[in-house]
Symmetry: C2
Subunit: 351 residues, 2 copies
């Protein structure tokens, strides 16, 4: 069949191009770490089990002669975001975005100023805000994340993430990404893996910065996703409005389900840090051949945060890394990263 | 910021690799049509407005000096499947797949043999089958497309599409693809576009053959999608079961909404053939700069089918190309393909 052979040739050409990309990457200084055989692909990592497990996995899955070789088309790695790629304490960044958008929403809908939970948010009373119920937080999410066009929302999110700063570090939230994980993503990409973000955060929110912060294109962001509604503007041009209708709750089992919906392949590698990532890590490890499931343990209060409660670390409202999850990781052969021991640097701006 | 520059360099490396892919493709005989400047990228097309519109669009969006230049990352082209990439008459292929799966389903659930609509399907009475209501067809779809693991479903679909044949042409359904459209897909890919299938058909069904038939990887198939349910097998390994829960009805406005959900970018080019594609074509054309919206008109009863009812062609149950849609196409500057006049060959097996 002519078109069959055309497809076969196209695939060979694509594979050859990937090889060329790897060769090319080796000749680009800043990427040499991820591609040239002599350089260290993970310079911000200390020697140890975690670093070695990542290197072994890539070697096993990309060497043609390996029994665990994975064809380039099938190479998929998924990364949770909050607590895995960037800081999630003391609150999820998107939650702060929602709270900080409340004044703008109330300016357009003044009737909300006297209504809870908006009244509490506007008061700025941190203790009261910390006590808002899940249902009240949902009300805030609906008011701040829906009702506008997808383009307007994107512009708002880009504007906010380009200026809003974290108080403890005095840095843009988008700077509080983990340098060792950026290196893992670049290393996997240099070896033909497609890197996806699979986040409980809002898909459209994370898409607004995924390319510039992580080098992940918007179509490789799987997140908690709401519906949109097709309509026409005054100029007759069609646009989409964000609707308060949940299509995918990309947490827990929803992460494995979201991966099937949006990617259609079982990942060969997955990275997470909390019980919300448990099923994604199980689903990944449950596949045939070499699979890498990795948990990030936040045990570095000095450079970042220490919370758990695995290994006696304090419990927090976000990023639940329970003892049971830690035990499952050990039993199932997942890799556990100790931020304190495995990472030389935490952030790109660290010396 | 080190990672920012790394991202920039990665993007430049990717762009360079795309260029290398194009150069490489030019050196592969079967792809030369899509990449080398001297050869015809669309050899199965007759000269005419449609062919010229496609060539002009690619030139305008890929020449660096063009005011309509589109960066490689943003190049997205979407294709309806039924009636746009392959034959949809006398029935959608997936509908035939569902009907032909009924005996296997009844073998496992014998109580269905005496219940409608299964009784009618098993009778083989074509007239009665043609009269099944939409609700009855949904019952058949649920019974044949859900309740099994995603891997089992995929295996069933691969098996069926590798052997089931169309009666009129005596060919596998997967051979009844339009050679001129395969050329357009290859041509767009050679010019850095990501080609997506955006189909009203079942996402998992189309994924089961998208790579081998169209060169489209599973993650670039957007279709009508049901939910899945995460669970554990007897061996303790996690797997996903296909559920009778509709997440995305990828027809009409659902196509534009599905494109946002799964791709996150407004396409620069879209191809369709029926009222179910109207919003996708409007949404595409509604973007800034050069946009290409294309409608396939089935006006070749001899080599394929002629139906409409645009231009007085007979109406059919599937693939509704109405006069209103044709009028909108003309008014909005969409390109209309006449299969009879624009295509030298219809199928890859045509002389």
């Amino acid at each position: 069949m002519p078109h069959g052979s055309l497809v076969a040739i196209t695939r060979r050409a694509a594979a050859a191009a990937l090889l060329l990309l790897a060769m090319l990457a080796a000749s680009v200084p800043a990427l040499a770490q991820g591609a040239s055989p002599g350089a260290d692909p993970l310079p911000s990592w200390n020697d140890g089990q975690a670093r070695q497990a990542i290197l072994d996995f890539v070697n096993k899955t990309t060497e043609q002669a390996s029994p665990d070789f994975v064809p380039a088309d099938d190479r998929v790695a998924t990364f949770d975001q909050d607590g895995t790629l960037w800081v999630e304490q003391p609150s999820y960044t998107q939650f702060i975005f929602c709270l900080e958008r409340v004044p703008a929403v109330v300016a357009k809908r003044p009737e909300l100023a006297k209504v809870e939970p908006f009244k509490t948010v506007l008061s700025g009373n941190k203790e009261a805000i910390a006590k808002l119920t899940m249902k009240q937080l949902e009300t805030i999410a609906v008011a701040t994340l829906t009702g506008m066009s997808v383009d307007d929302f994107n512009a708002e999110a880009v504007k906010w993430t380009s200026s809003a700063k974290d108080k403890r570090f005095g840095r843009l939230y988008t700077e509080l990404v983990y340098q060792p994980m950026l290196e893992v993503m670049a290393y996997l990409r240099a070896n033909g893996f497609k890197t996806y973000i699979v986040t409980g955060g809002g898909q459209d929110f994370v898409r607004s910065y995924s390319q510039r912060v992580y080098g992940v294109p918007v179509e490789q962001v799987v997140g908690t996703a709401g519906g949109t509604k097709y309509g026409y503007g005054k100029d007759g041009k069609p646009f989409l409005t964000k609707e308060p209708k949940l299509l995918l709750n990309d947490n827990n089992a929803g992460k494995a389900e979201g991966i099937h919906l949006m990617i259609g392949r079982r990942p060969h590698a997955a990275f997470g840090n909390s019980t919300g990532d448990q099923q994604m890590l199980e689903y990944t490890k449950g596949g045939d051949g070499a699979r890498l499931s990795v948990l990030v343990l936040h045990d570095d209060a000095e450079r970042e945060f220490a919370y758990g409660p695995a290994q006696g670390l304090p419990a927090t409202k976000v990023g639940t890394f329970t003892q049971a999850l830690y035990d499952e990781a050990k039993k199932a052969g997942w890799t556990v990263i100790s931020m304190k021991n495995d990472w030389k640097r935490i952030f790109p701006f660290d010396k």
